[in-house]
Subunit: 298 residues, 2 copies
């Protein structure tokens, strides 16, 4: 991969060294992408685990201290904190620093950073490019970090970058570098508009999460022995961190609500077919779903 092979980062800073941040560190070191990897966290025990696992070379409790040394900084903190953290550190960043993130929603975050950047004057070439590696898990913490986590997975990189490059200079170096960064970690990259990303993820991730939680909510504890593999698969994501997911759902509130309406239409088709005992309609609805589901594994 020409772009990936060409990328070399002097100092990579990872803010939030959990499953995703830790995997970025391990992948960056294994692939020789960065000379130094700095990790930031607010819990000493997590930072020590990250050091022990070799995901980072040095650790910091202060975000600015670590990000101001970076050529590339990636924020892997809860999505509703990222914009605020970026705006707090941006003024002190070195010229040309690329700021990116791993948050599950993009539109509100990118907008907040754009609004903030318009009011301040970061150094020349400091850019924020939103990213979302589709490599989450219900697991948390650096102990689950994996240098191959991004291998063959999709990372969405949002365009345009913040700030908008001056006219006539294309989409700017920041976007190219963000794409190269994720590719260098092993990821496939899709460049998308933040709104388009959020609408898509409402249907592919946020709504399934909410539905899984509702399915578990509808279960009473006495039924637990009767919950077999199918139930476990269907509801696995509901074991995800509640606070993290509350943030995601609220950041993408409108798209999730409209996804719920959309799902409601499909559930109603099943309801009508069941009420009418309409074998042909049910078979057709299940058949359509099977064909699309089968295509995911190809």
């Amino acid at each position: 991969m020409a772009i990936a092979a060409g990328m070399k980062i002097q100092t990579l800073t990872i803010v939030g060294v959990g499953l995703i941040g830790g995997s970025i560190g391990l992948a960056a070191k294994q692939r020789n992408l960065a000379k130094r990897v700095l990790g930031v966290g607010h819990r000493r025990v997590s930072l020590e685990q990250a050091l022990t696992r070799g995901a980072v070379d040095e650790v910091f409790l202060n975000i600015s201290e670590a990000v101001h040394q970076a050529d590339v900084a990636v924020f892997c903190t809860p999505v509703d904190l990222i914009a605020e953290q970026i705006l707090a550190v941006a003024p002190g960043c070195k010229p040309g620093t690329l700021l990116t993130d791993a948050g599950s929603t993009k539109a509100a975050l990118v907008q907040s950073v754009a609004d903030g950047f318009a009011k301040m004057k970061p150094a020349e070439g400091v850019a924020f490019v939103g990213s979302h590696p589709l490599a989450g898990s219900e697991k948390r913490g650096v102990k689950y970090a994996d240098p191959n986590l991004f291998e063959s997975r999709v990372t969405v990189v949002t365009s345009p970058p913040v700030p908008l490059p001056e006219s006539g200079r294309g989409l700017g170096e920041g976007l190219d570098r963000a794409v190269a960064f994720w590719k260098a970690l092993g990821s496939k990259v899709l460049v998308m508009d933040p709104d388009e990303h959020d609408k898509a993820l409402a249907l592919t991730s946020h709504l399934p999460h909410l539905v899984a939680a509702a399915l578990v909510g509808a279960l009473t504890p006495d039924l637990v022995p009767l919950a077999a593999t199918g139930f476990r698969d269907t509801t696995r994501v509901a074991a995800g961190d509640p606070t993290l997911w509350t943030g995601i759902l609220l950041q993408n509130r409108e798209a999730v609500l409209s996804g719920m309406d959309h799902l409601g239409v499909h559930l109603d088709q099943f309801r009508r077919a069941l009420m009418a005992s309409d074998r042909i309609a049910l078979d057709q609805l299940l058949g359509q779903a099977k064909r699309l589901r089968d295509s995911l594994d190809q």
Copy 2:
């Protein structure tokens, strides 16, 4: 296991030698539970696969021919065919034959068999006991059969048996033998009323299936690249056989419809919390779901 160890079947007949039927055959032979295992199917190619895999010793295209030789016969055919098949062969069964099944719904099936038995006169001691091993999969066919499929999995055995034992004789030998049979295959056994089973499975299996299919239905093909692990887990069951599942949903129509209402209440709690941007309510709903989901893995 005292009961299991004591059970020894002269001739076990398996009607429908797919994933479940084939696994019963493999488990019975590996555990030395039956002297002869007969397999019945309507496709020669599946029967030959079952022979090749060693899941059965002899194969038959005619159900009666194989079941009339059996001491125990287990029907692993689509759930909406089982009652009819059992009633067709019951009159010619040997005295004391235990008939059981692996269907995913129980109330309508047990009722149909009871109604049919009341009108005929099977030989002395011929009994039907409904069963449901919770060991399904979206996979089909004897090639996925596994002698350890039932190991540590729950099988529900329904009570009372059909016909009802004469008063003063407890729940009858049939029920004891059905429990011993599934235990001998490695299963944990829960004895339940058929209605209670169907209401529970509506929530733990049929509703999750329907919701998974609706989630896939709500996806457009352009979003497929953005469907990551979470979506794949949540919708895995939607790859199940549409005709089989149409039968299951129709057999358990009322419980599934009332399960949909029940799920609707839980989805509405999320909707209201989202509309109000109520962080505390969302966190609480997701937290409750996480705690129950975590308990499934313990």
